[in-house]
Symmetry: C2
Subunit: 235 residues, 2 copies
DNA sequence: CGCGGCCTTGATCGCACTCAATTCTAGTGG
DNA sequence: CCACTAGAATTGAGTGCGATCAAGGCCGCG
């Protein structure tokens, strides 16, 4: 199967030594001789909202570090529906499963404009035999992936529609300004929480009516959080 | 907080070199000098159904390899309910988060009699600076944990009660004889799939009435699978 | 202006929850 | 061996929440 190919802008080959978020990412602890042993190119790419980084079943040849933006990890159920199982943010890594599996195990799609480093898996495999520091970083990523995944399950797929929507609103708060929250389309929010888009819409409206949040645009994406405790209680 | 402490039988200090399932577990690739550097004791424990391996928040000092039996990974939601987020089987590892976090991030409870190796985290940390082979094994475990966790989310928390119960039945099939399946209590099955125990009971009964499964005991735990395709279609 | 995409809102329906009673099993002690 | 009990599973009746079907509104865009 030839996958749908990817719209992405190439921004050049990365110089990881001077990466702005190097301290957040896999290569944080590498030294000069580690970098010297990197021969395959690490590319710096930009994806637009809706672009695909890779699809489930694609041959796994790269690992992707998110530098900026939001990225959805999507699984397709046998009966044709779609579930968003995790959201990746700056510093997170997509496609780690490629280190062990021949192909990717989920679809990964940009949810907003996203700036991404594409690292050949061969580099990771070579370095990981020589650099215990990279190993630690890799395992930290795995740890975070498991924790995020289980938190997701526990937070968004539990309780009433009202509670689930409240938890989405909380989970999508901005890192920089936690009083702001950026929601996805109602359909995507439904795929995150196993609700129908109409139900999501109703519950968002209800939180607005009750004064817990306040719309900052006219298209239902950006909200200001007014009553944080109320959302957390979700009563 | 002093956690409820644990009922477990000590079966002796393990000799990992001659472990019956060594090829399945973390130490598969260690050589003699690796073993020679292990100084802390690795204990071999037996837990009975319902015993606690550790609780969320306990100081993380060991990693546990499951040798035999079934183990539940449990999370407690803020509103006091309980969710089973994963099941561990022979070869799986519990408590890996202790490598990075100071305390465990979920409760882990034996679901049946379980035989378990308790490995001090100090051993893993020491070995992982010297043995790239252990690193690979560890990352394989992380990979499996993420995949299991996301599969769980996608399979058991999706669709109608009928489909969820069918997926539990399929997930709990025996490795040795896949025509047999061992269910948990209806309450635990509810915690796995976010259903009430009465709903689970109804749906199990319905699959029996329709001839997809057949009870092998009188207490509703062991069933023989008669019509596998029907369960997979779940229509 | 018309069109398409997305969000919102309304009315109705059905599935899963709730509350409750009953049955079955294993375990205990007479 | 039987009576009694506690715990678990099962079954029933009624309710309510979220899905479904449908209509209408808002926004951006050609």
């Amino acid at each position: 199967m030839i996958p749908i190919q990817i719209e992405s802008a190439w921004r050049g080959t990365s110089d990881c030594r001077h990466c702005g978020i190097r301290d957040m990412v896999l290569f944080a602890d590498l030294n000069e001789s580690d970098f010297a042993s990197i021969h395959a190119p690490i590319d710096d790419l930009v994806f637009h909202a809706g672009d695909t980084l890779f699809l489930e079943g694609d041959s796994a040849e790269h690992v992707f570090t998110i530098r900026k933006g939001l990225v959805k990890v999507v699984r397709n159920t046998p009966d044709g529906r779609v579930r968003i199982v995790r959201i990746l943010r700056a510093g997170d890594v997509a496609g780690l499963e490629g280190l062990f599996a021949p192909s990717y195990e989920s679809d990964v799609v940009a949810a907003s404009e996203a700036s991404v480093c594409r690292i050949p898996i061969s580099i990771i495999k070579n370095l990981s035999t020589t650099s215990p520091r990279l190993h630690m970083r890799l395992m930290e990523r795995w740890h975070k992936a498991v924790k995020d995944s289980e938190d997701w399950l526990a937070d968004l797929n539990f309780g009433t529609a009202r509670q689930r929507v409240a938890n989405i609103i909380l989970k999508m708060r901005h890192d920089e300004d936690p009083s702001l929250t950026s929601l996805f389309s109602r359909e995507d929010m439904g795929a995150m929480s196993d609700l129908k888009l109409e139900t999501v819409s109703r519950e968002v409206s209800r939180w607005v009516k009750e004064g817990a949040i306040e719309p900052m645009d006219r298209i239902g994406r950006l909200y200001r959080i007014i009553d944080l405790p109320k959302l957390k209680r979700a009563d």
